[in-house]
Amino acid sequence: MSNLAVLPIALPFLAGIIVAFFHKKLVAARIFALIATVIHLAVTIMILLQVNGNGSYVLELGNWKAPYGIVLVADPLSALLVMTTAIIGVAAVIYAPKSLSKIQEEFYFYSFFFLLISGVSGAFLTGDLFNLFVFFEVLLMASYGLIVLGNGKAQLRESLKYILINLFSSMLFVTTIAFLYSVVGTVNMAQAAERVGEVEQQGILTTIAILLFFVFATKAAVFPLYYWLPNSYTVPNAVVSALFGALLTKVGVYSILRTFTLIFNHEVPLTHTLFIYLAIFTMIFGVIGALSTNNVKLIIAYNIIPAVGFMLMGIGIFTETAIAGSIYYLVHDMIIKAVLFLLIGAIIYAAGTSDLNKMGGMIHHFPVLGWMFFLSTLVLAGIPPFSGFIGKLLLIQGGLEQEEILVVLAALISSLGILFSMIRIFIKGFWGEPDIMKIPEQKPSMSLMVWPIGLLLTLSVVLGVGAEWFYPSIESIAQYVMNPEIYIESVLKE
């Protein structure tokens, strides 16, 4: 047993409280935030290495034995995701000062940011369903603070809807947990998995499973529950959108992955087939949305939705290859969505508008931004040898093995649609007539924005080019996820 597993939650939590005391001293707050996120990253890397070496950490909080107390489980999957979260955190902190206005930064941006990271890490690490709800609330509360930061007209309007939909789905989450508790008599994931396995997931449990899926699907923006996402991810500041796009929906996807591989894995023909069909619609409608607008930020926000579809497809196909694809895609998508939102923030900052029709010829003024955007487009759309390709390859391979032709076709077509929607920004914004845009004489200095983007983009490229190097560990995680007995045993220690 080791206390290391609680650090990714406790460190940012403490940092968030401490930084609230000097929120008006921006220089100090920035330095403090940078140091704290770097330490957080170091801790998470250490956990990942330790977990890969010695197996999962199970921390029984307050020394209450497993099914009675709350457990934190740092297993290979959650350790990997927590580390990815930490990387995005570092990039966001470097990017934030340039992107936020002084007043936004002063009014507790860093506090909310740290609480968000703390909640996301907690949601990845917890081994208890009710505790998962609590961490959902922690990260949602922080996101409510972040989304209204700036107090704009559209911002207030959209954040209201965002809070309402999340509040409603949280209440359904609580109700579902109550139902599950009355049937299996526990909220500990490992014990619930064991008991659901004993009765072979009869009717009522499948109903509960679908209810739980409904809750997570609302958070993950799966068709038909994605309508709240595009607008509310467009209105806040770029760095906030990047955090939301990279982390929040992925927590929902992770929860689906966790519960439906660990607990509700006995009715695969029913539940997982449903996922496949929903994945098809999610991909198609997301891409249609992305093609329907000229607001560059909205295009990126819509691109989150097909990515969720891809991950859901892997969970639905439910073979080792497909799950490996989902996990690979999850990590890839966290990084590339952060890159894209940060990039689009820089582009809007440079161009002074988010309307694609008013942009043009930016490549002459901002060549670095242009080529970075081009590269990230290739990564997102899945052009070999970049990381999007590897994830999609695994997913499609898994789909073909199970002869799910329809979803494979939808995946391929929507990939083309994603490429088209992104390259449209490149063609119209970066090529084209430079005259329609007013570029100020003195170009704004962008280096603080470009650095973190470059960092993440490099990482993303390495993830794709070095796939040979990463794949074995992803494969072993997929193997681990497909054999829930290991998880149950490590928690309950029988």
């Binding site: 107090n151 559209a154 309402l164 409603f168 209440m171 109700t175 109550a178």
Partner: protein, 112 residues
Amino acid sequence: MEIIMSVLAGILFMTGVYNLLQKQLLRIVIGTALVSHGAHLTILTMGKLKDGAPPILTEGVENYTDPLPQALILTSIVISFGVTSLLLVLAYRASKINHTDNMDQLRGNDYE
């Protein structure tokens, strides 16, 4: 007793959802509060309602109340209290700045 509580929770959910679907902002906030009350009562009912039995886990005690649902409820009440108060402030702000509390007019497609 459980049946009555379940029906009560159902009524709370029903009225809550009805209010959520209204146009006026304040009614929606009240709707969320009602839904959360329904959820809390569901938790309490799911842990079986017993009278006069202490939450004790020792050998020899046959009749005891399950303490876990109460702990869960307490957590959930605190959270929904916090969110509701935030929502009220935000609804006030949003209606002040947008000059309306009608959700139909708060639809909007402009992003400033």
